[in-house]
Symmetry: C2
Subunit: 222 residues, 2 copies
C-alpha cells in the first residue's frame, strides 16, 4: 500500500496537522460514506452535485444517466470529488474556538468513461454494494438496455488527500477559568427500521443484510 | 416570499419532477443542515470544500481563516454551494431502480466579502447558531483580534434550486411479481450524548440547549 503523496492540489494548506498520511485512511473515509459531492466546471462556473459512488481498490466509480450533463462533461475535464463525515460539534469556551469533528477525503483527477462491459458491471456493483451491501446478488440484474442507459465513470485515487479533526476543544489558556461548558456533541448517521414498499407482495421478509443495519450493527462512522 | 425562479444554471435538467418550487423548501433544506460543500475554481480546476454556514433571510454566510485559499479566491469568482441530506436508501426489485431519498439545495453566485463589522458579527452568529443553537449567548464573545483573523463571505440566495426525492421504489411493471424485498431504509443524522472536555472545571452542567439535542428532541431532517 502506497502512502498518500501530496501534490500541489492535495497539500493541506490550512491546519496541516489534520492531514492523514496513510492510504488506509482514504479507504476508510470513502468506504464509510454513501454520497460524495462531485465538483465540475460547467460553462465556466463551478457546479457541485451530490451523487452515489463505489470504490474498488484505487478506483472510485460514479454513475449517472447518459442524459445527465454532469456525466457528459465529466470525462473531458478535471473533477474534484469530496466525501465528508460530520462526527461531532466541538463546543469551546470561546466562540472563536468552536469547531467540528470531521473526516473528509478530496480526490482530484480526470475521470475515464468506462467502456468495457465487465468493468462497467463491476463499477455499478461497487456503487450498489456501497449503498446497500449484499443487495447486488438478490435484486434483478440489469438488462442490456438498462446498461446502455447508464454511464459509469472511473476516477483514479492517485491524487487524494484526507483531513481528520477529532477530540475536544482547544481553548486559549485564560479561557479555561470560565464557567462555560465545553466538550463535544457527537453526530451519528444511523439507519432506521426498513419500511416495506406498500405494494410489496405478502410474505417477503426484510432480508438479513438489510435488517441488521437498523439494529445498529453497522452504524456509519467511527 | 418569492418563489424559486430557475435560471439556466438552476433549471433541473434530470428528473424535473423532483424540483421544489417554493423558497420555503430552500430555507428548510439549509436550516436542517450543518455543513455545505463549497465549489470553487482554483488554478483552473474545480475544488469542493466542506464547511459550516449560516442563513439570515436570503443570505448565506460562510467563514474561514483569512489565510485560507478558498476564501481568498471566493469573493472574486462564481461559487456553487450545495447542501445535501441523505434521508433513505431506496431498495427496488431491480438493481436499475435502486435510488436514494434526499433533499439537496444548490446555490450559485459570487460571494461578497463582508466588511461591515455589524454584518460580520451577525454572519458569524448565524454560522455558530446553525451549528449549535443557543451557543452564541453563553460562550466568550470574539475579541477584536479574533474578528480580524476571520473572513466572512455573504452569498445571496437569489439563484438557487432544491431537489427532493422521497417515497418508495418505482419498479418496472413486470418486476412487481418478483420475490424480492423492496422498500426504504431510512437514514437519520442524530446527536449523541454530549462528552465534556476532560479538563472541564467541575460543577458545570451540560446546558439545556445542548442537552436536549441528545434526547432526540431535534433530530436533524424530516
Amino acid at each position: 500500500m502506497t502512502p498518500l503523496s501530496p501534490t500541489a492540489r492535495t497539500r493541506i494548506g490550512r491546519l496541516p496537522e489534520r492531514a492523514a498520511r496513510d492510504r488506509s485512511d482514504l479507504y476508510r473515509v470513502l468506504d464509510d460514506g454513501m454520497i460524495c459531492h462531485l465538483g465540475l466546471i460547467v460553462d465556466g462556473s463551478p457546479r457541485v452535485i451530490p451523487t452515489g459512488y463505489g470504490r474498488l481498490d484505487d478506483t472510485l466509480y460514479l454513475h449517472g444517466s447518459t442524459g445527465a450533463s454532469s456525466l457528459r462533461a465529466g470525462p473531458t475535464q478535471d473533477v474534484c470529488v469530496t466525501v465528508t463525515h460530520l462526527d461531532g460539534i466541538v463546543i469551546a469556551r470561546s466562540l472563536f474556538h468552536h469547531s467540528m469533528n470531521y473526516r473528509s477525503a478530496v480526490i482530484f483527477g480526470t475521470p475515464r468513461l468506462v467502456d468495457d462491459p465487465d468493468e462497467k458491471l463491476a463499477g455499478l456493483r461497487a456503487i450498489t454494494e456501497n449503498l446497500s451491501p449484499g443487495q447486488w446478488d438478490v435484486a434483478r440484474q440489469p438488462t442490456r438496455k438498462e446498461m446502455a442507459a447508464v454511464s459509469v465513470l472511473a476516477l483514479s485515487l492517485d491524487e487524494a488527500s484526507v483531513k481528520i479533526r477529532q477530540g475536544g476543544p482547544s481553548d486559549d489558556d485564560e479561557d479555561y477559568a470560565l464557567d462555560v461548558w465545553a466538550g463535544v456533541v457527537p453526530v451519528h448517521q444511523t439507519f432506521g427500521e426498513p419500511s416495506p414498499d406498500p405494494v410489496l407482495r405478502p410474505g417477503i421478509p426484510v432480508p438479513g443484510h438489510i435488517a441488521h443495519r437498523a439494529n445498529g450493527d453497522s452504524a456509519i462512522g467511527p
